[in-house]
């Protein structure tokens, strides 16, 4: 077996093992439970949630913001590292593209779950008003979905052609599909030129679109008069937070895939070290924006804002606030500063900390602000003064997270998670194979 064949054997998608089957089964069960909860919500109305007139947005929105932030990993790694000529990205980009696509698709879905009248979805197009930040979201999210898809698909073409050949004898049905999806890729010079150009254009486009997506998401909040949202810091704050959330998700998923598929030769300590450094830099940037957001207002915050900040730092939300700041940001920075902390296993833990911290961070951004309106909360039941998600909300949110993981799992099942052709090219074993063939 030539080196090239060994490489394909290593990287070609494989059937689920027992663990994979159980994992997928669990995800499907969670999704079904969420679906049942959602149907119940549609029937009974959002009274099944714990949102009320004051806490009018809850985890549906914070979960949406989390998905949007995570989807930034495509722009952050693929495009940014490409433009800065960081070649270590090669074995990681495909996974980043997959996460990015599944996250942005789920973002689009989760925002619909929050709608009181999902049956009137089309009104967003029929009666669209351009001045509403929601319309900006309606424009930018589909754009991002298309771009994320293309960013995943175009670099995949040569690999699909390779898989077609690889499976031609063993699994003809698979081979046929890979062949169709590869759009008759032959690897000719013209094809390669077109592909290279297309990827270049998309990779450049994906950066402004990604930043716009994050910023529009921030503007959903900063265009209101609410204390804690009404901040010019928001756009940059959200974008820097998206780097952190996205990279955290990437590191976690990369570690799991590497372990399950035994890719230790392809994704090495070197790659984890590089990812760690990247995450460290973005975490530091995020700390900077957090200081701007929460520390500097101490000097000149008006009374209302001071009440809000006090509530975050010392009040009802203090445990979650400090959890997201310390576990999601400060501890990762400390761990990443040490060389030992940048090894795969500690990095996996850091990745999980960052992801969970990022998720709760969005909760902390969305909820407390709504419970600090300008006029006092009066004339409503006491339970309306507080918010914590109901069982329906947890089930539905868990289902959306499971769905994102299922999309990632299915991609990993059917696509090469590491670009075969690029690796072969970089290792210089692509040509030998071709000469053998001809």
């Amino acid at each position: 077996m030539s080196k090239y064949d060994a490489l394909i054997d290593d990287l070609a998608p494989r059937k689920f093992g027992r663990r994979g089957t159980i994992w997928t089964f669990i995800l499907v069960v969670v999704i079904i439970l969420g679906l049942i909860a959602y149907i119940d919500q549609v029937n009974k109305g959002q009274v099944v949630t714990n949102m009320r007139d004051y806490a009018l947005w809850g985890i549906y929105i914070s979960n949406f913001v989390f998905f949007v932030a995570t989807s930034f990993v495509g722009s952050a790694t693929v495009a940014v590292l490409r433009l800065t000529n960081n070649t270590w990205r090669t074995p990681l980009v495909r996974i980043a593209e997959i996460i990015s696509l599944s996250a942005i698709v789920m973002a689009g879905l989760t925002i619909m779950i929050d709608m009181g009248r999902p049956d009137r979805l089309l009104n967003l197009f029929i009666h669209a008003r351009l001045q509403s930040p929601i319309t900006w979201d309606v424009i930018i999210i589909p754009t991002s979905i298309v771009l994320s898809f293309l960013l995943l698909y175009f670099p995949l073409l040569p690999d699909l052609a390779i898989l077609k050949k690889h499976h031609s004898k063993t699994k003809p049905a698979f081979s046929k599909w890979y062949g169709k999806l590869s759009l008759n890729w032959t690897g000719s010079k013209t094809q390669k030129a077109i592909q290279a150009k297309s990827i270049k254009i998309i990779a450049i486009m994906v950066i402004p679109v990604g930043i716009l997506l994050q910023t529009i998401d921030a503007w959903l909040f900063s265009t209101t008069y609410r204390i804690g949202w009404d901040s010019t810091n928001m756009g940059a704050y959200f974008t820097s937070g998206a780097f952190v959330a996205g990279l955290g998700a990437l590191i976690t998923v990369v570690f799991v895939i590497r372990k399950v598929r035994g890719l230790e030769h392809y994704i090495t300590d070197y790659h984890f070290n590089k990812l760690a450094q990247y995450l460290l830099v973005t975490c530091l940037a995020y700390v900077y924006f957090n200081i701007n957001e929460y520390l500097i207002p101490i000097f000149n915050a008006p009374v209302e804002e001071e009440i809000h900040l006090n509530e975050l730092v010392f009040g009802e939300y203090a445990p979650l606030f400090w959890f997201s700041q310390i576990v999601g940001l400060i501890l990762p920075i400390i761990i990443l500063l040490f060389k030992k902390g940048r090894k795969p296993v500690p990095m996996f833990i850091v990745g999980i900390m960052v992801v969970i911290g990022s998720w709760w961070k969005r909760y902390i951004i969305v909820t407390p602000t709504l419970l600090h309106p300008f006029l006092p909360i009066e004339g409503v039941p006491e339970s309306w003064h507080h918010y914590f998600p109901s069982m329906h909300e947890w089930l539905i949110t868990a289902a959306t997270l499971a769905m994102a993981l299922l999309i990632i799992t299915l991609f990993v099942r059917f696509l090469p998670v590491i670009p075969i052709e690029r690796i072969a090219e970089e290792k210089g074993i692509l040509n030998t194979d071709k000469s053998e063939e001809s």
Partner: protein
């Protein structure tokens, strides 16, 4: 080769143009002829009719020429739910010095709008700016802002601003995103978290009045998953009546009127709006945000009644009377 195709194209264009002109002339001719033919048949009638023109001169017309004309619709004068009543600008003045927290406004509002949720559209807040300043009762309606934050952020134009100053909601269009609620700095909007239990009541009144459901009719049933709020009672305004909170208040706290006419009334006295605001130092809520509310407040000075008296009716956790269990 290239020359050839160019020539051919020119030929083609030339032909096409000629053909087009010929067709146009032919068409014109045919229409002329048919109109003449029609005219001939009309000439058979001999009846004449005397008519008066708009400027008053009498003319005689062949009766066959007389056709019934549909009356021109004066769209600009017709009432349009989204445009409002022409040449009006409705405002409200709330005199905090008179409010004793009697809560009659709240119950009248709840009743006439068939509010069924747990959060009333109109509420009376117990206000105290700081420990050292005097507490007062503050009724709070929708501010019907001239720069409404809710309208700006609505993605589907379900909530809209009318020329007569009212901010209303089309709950047949609302998608329930609640962005307007997040945007409103006065937190006045309420959401129908479940199917509103309005029963048949609202439907009956709706049909009794012969009204078709529209956002400005109080009988408009609330809809699950959409936003509601204080509407300044356009159904009353249209009949030259005052909003229900104004008429229900036993203390004359609410004044309602037209800014263009510069008058407001609480049902008992009618006052000059500009003079009232100058004399009593009227202000608007959260003026610094720039939302330009249509509701003015008069400061709680020279009060006749002790603030504490209002405490009898005060209920921090309830603005809707609970229906008695059956």
């Amino acid at each position: 080769m290239g020359d050839n195709t160019k020539k051919e194209r020119r030929k083609f264009l030339d032909k096409g143009l000629k053909l087009g002109i010929a067709a146009a002339i032919g068409g014109l001719g045919i229409s002329k002829i048919t109109s003449k033919l029609n005219a001939k048949t009309n000439h058979n009638s001999t009846d004449k009719m005397e008519l008066m023109t708009v400027d008053g001169t009498l003319i005689e017309v062949d009766s066959s020429e007389v056709l019934e004309v549909q009356h021109a619709e004066h769209d600009d004068e017709k009432y349009n739910v989204r445009e409002g009543i022409p040449n009006r600008k409705f405002v409200m003045v709330i005199d905090l010095a008179k409010c004793k927290n009697a809560l009659k406004c709240v119950s009248a509002c709840n009743k006439t709008h068939y509010i069924t949720g747990e959060n009333a559209w109109l509420k009376v807040h117990k206000m105290q700016e700081s420990k050292d300043t005097a507490p007062y009762w503050m009724p709070r309606t929708c501010m019907h802002c001239d720069q409404p934050a809710c309208v700006t952020v609505c993605p589907v134009d379900a909530t809209f601003k009318r020329r007569d100053g009212l901010v209303l909601i089309d709950n047949e269009r609302c998608i329930g995103c609640r962005f307007c609620m997040a945007a409103c700095p006065y937190s006045i909007r309420v959401f129908n978290w479940e199917e509103p239990k309005q029963g048949e009541m609202s439907e009956i009144t709706m049909h009794m009045g012969g009204e078709t459901p529209s956002p400005d009719y109080a009988g408009m049933p609330s809809r699950k998953g959409t936003v509601d709020k204080c509407d300044f009672c356009p159904h009353s305004i249209k009949n030259n009546e005052l909003p229900h909170c104004v008429t229900a208040c036993p203390n004359g706290v609410f004044y309602f009127g037209d800014k263009y006419e510069d008058t407001v009334t609480n049902g008992e006295e009618t006052l000059r709006l500009s003079k009232l605001l100058t004399d009593k130092a009227g202000y608007r809520l959260l003026e610094e945000l720039g939302t330009a509310p249509s509701v003015y407040y008069l400061p709680p000075v020279d009060r006749l009644v002790d603030f504490e008296k209002g405490m009898e009716n005060y209920n921090e956790f309830q603005s809707m009377e609970k229906p008695e269990e059956q």
